[in-house]
Amino acid sequence: MSETSIDLAKGERSEDSFQASDFQFVQENEKLMDKTYKATSYAKDVWVHFTRNKGAVVGFVIIVIIIFMAIIGPMISGHTYDEIILKYQSLPPRIPGLDKLGIFNGFEHGKDVYAAKGASDVYYWFGTDTNGRDLFTRVWQGTRVSLIIALVAVVIDIVIGMSYGLISGYFGGKVDMIMQRIVEVLNGIPTLVVVTLLGLVLPQGMTSIIFALMITGWIGMSRIARAEVLKLKESEYVLASKTLGAKDFAIIFKDIMPNIFGQLIIMSMFSVPNAIFTEAFLSFVGLGIQPPMASLGSLISDGYKSLTIHPYMIMSSIVVLALLMLSFNLFADGLRDAFDPNQKQS
């Protein structure tokens, strides 16, 4: 015990309350040094947050599998999407290996359809449709369409929505007023009406779907971008850039945009399920992808016609569509939480 501590104790408190032996030194033998923890990079932080979210990882894995199958599926099946084999009409699913276990064995309503059609050595994994086309090939071909639409939706979101929001928010005043009124009017027209009418004016198929997305698909994104710019445009670095004589568009796209780009990309992931749904909806009503080309929506529409007789025809495309939308939702949720942990985790 050192002298000073006793003196202090005496000086400040009554003599009996504390004894010197009441105290003991800690860290006496430790070298007091700053501990260096391993630095976590931003990317690693994001990775940790993302992988902790089970749903997001599952969603990501399913997306990767579906993309993979969409690429190689039509190649490995040995059929093309429009190849019609009339003698193999309406065959239920039959998968080698699993047929021994009593599932996917080509039986329908208690009868072996394959044997009845003299095709005991043929395997159609997802079955065939009423025209004798291989559903496995058609489902993955249709998935390609949905994935292309998804990609286009993201591009439209970013190119049109983001630029529109950035410009509207940055300039403010009259420009903002007019641009926002336009958005309000566009937003007032139900997508449904635009899409159905466009399907008639334009050639039906991809073009009309993409055009419909271009008219209404980007409005949500433009609102977010505008709100972000309103926050950022008063900041000091923008002022500094202005003082140095930067042009307006240089400030918008070189200074402000990189700061919000990541966030907006993540938000654009949320428009993917919506776009996929729009395509499936249009094709289901008969205004989207036209036969013999397949899309998930048109496959569901075809399968619906024989739903009560051959329910398997619709199931494969329904499952892929539901999985695709589900996993994109989960993935986008996970990404948002990982990149922005401050946001409310719902």
Binding site: I189, T196, L197, A280, I314, A322, M325, S346
Partner: protein
């Protein structure tokens, strides 16, 4: 407040006018004519065009239509129901569609709210997990997929409800469509209710209410729910719109003679006036819903009312 409502009303009317104009323009660009499949020569077609005033310039037709519309006259059908007034034609389908939509919204919001509250009160329990699973599935799976699954399993396999619409037993034939359409609102509303409720229950004023010894039911339904409702009202607008889109396909699945079916039929037949009327009704309903939601927002939350009133 009244100034704000007035401003919103003006914007809505302007939007409707623009929509009508765009619809007219699109109709004009549509390939084909209403008198396509009749065996008519050019001279006879010209007579028909003159009879219905289709030979006049675009702007004159538009202004005439607008003038007639203000008197409640939506023109006559050219193809589907020859020469019948469109305003009569769309009445019945409109009511069927509104009925399905309203039922779905009612079921969806009540169940969604209850599910969300249950999940928030039993945070991190099995109720909570169930709520998350339902909401994720409900948000991700399109309503017509639900409709098809319901039609197959409940309608066809179990035979509990009719698959196809029957005008004699409207209530029972609208059961499955209502459930199919309600899935999305249930999922969305329960998700929002849950996260908002958890937030509100953790706030100071709830602690105070608890300290005052208010009964639990009162606490949840009187004090907590009101604040929870504010953000939920904002999602109601988009939800209703989604319902409109969904209902069009669900109508096709269950063969309900609703406005969506009529519109598709009219588009396929180039029945100009019917297409315009259906699309316009859709837009008008949509804009009306947005308006109601906006005003409702101010009614529920006095803070917004004040802020907007000063605007």
């Amino acid at each position: 407040m009244s100034k704000y409502v007035l401003k919103r009303l003006l914007i809505s009317i302007a939007t409707l006018l623009v929509i009508l104009f765009v619809l007219f323009l699109m109709e004009d660009m549509m390939p084909g004519s209403p008198f396509n499949d009749e065996k008519l020569n050019a001279a006879q077609k010209a007579v028909l065009y003159a009879k219905y005033g289709l030979d006049q310039p675009f702007m004159i037709r538009f202004m005439k239509y607008l003038g007639a519309m203000l008197k409640g006259d939506l023109g006559v059908s050219y193809v589907i129901n020859k020469n019948k007034a469109v305003s009569e034609m769309i009445m019945n389908p409109l009511w069927v569609s509104i009925r399905v939509g309203a039922q779905a919204m009612l079921v969806g919001s009540v169940l969604g709210l209850l599910l969300g509250i249950a999940a928030a009160l039993n945070h991190n329990s099995w109720v909570d997990s169930l709520c998350s699973i339902i909401s994720i599935i409900g948000v991700s799976v399109p309503s017509y997929v639900f409709a098809l699954l319901l039609a197959y399993f409940i309608g066809f396999k179990l035979g509990w409800a009719p698959i196809l619409y029957n005008a004699k037993s409207v209530a029972s034939s609208l059961t499955l469509p209502t459930i199919a359409l309600a899935m999305f609102p249930i999922a969305n509303i329960s998700r929002f209710t849950r996260s908002e409720m958890i937030d509100v229950l953790g706030s100071d004023y709830i602690l105070l209410v608890q300290a005052k010894g208010v009964r639990e039911n009162d606490l949840i339904f009187h004090h907590a729910l009101r604040n929870t409702l504010i953000p939920i009202v904002t999602v109601m607008g988009p939800l209703l719109v989604n319902l409109l889109t969904g209902s069009m396909v669900v109508e096709k699945v269950f063969a309900i003679p609703g406005i969506g079916m009529l519109m598709v039929q009219a588009i396929q037949n180039n029945d100009y006036n019917v297409v315009i009327a259906c699309a316009f009704v859709y837009s008008a309903m949509y804009i009306l819903m947005m308006l109601i939601v906006d005003i409702l927002y101010g009614v529920i939350d006095p803070r917004i009312r004040v802020a907007k009133g000063a605007d």
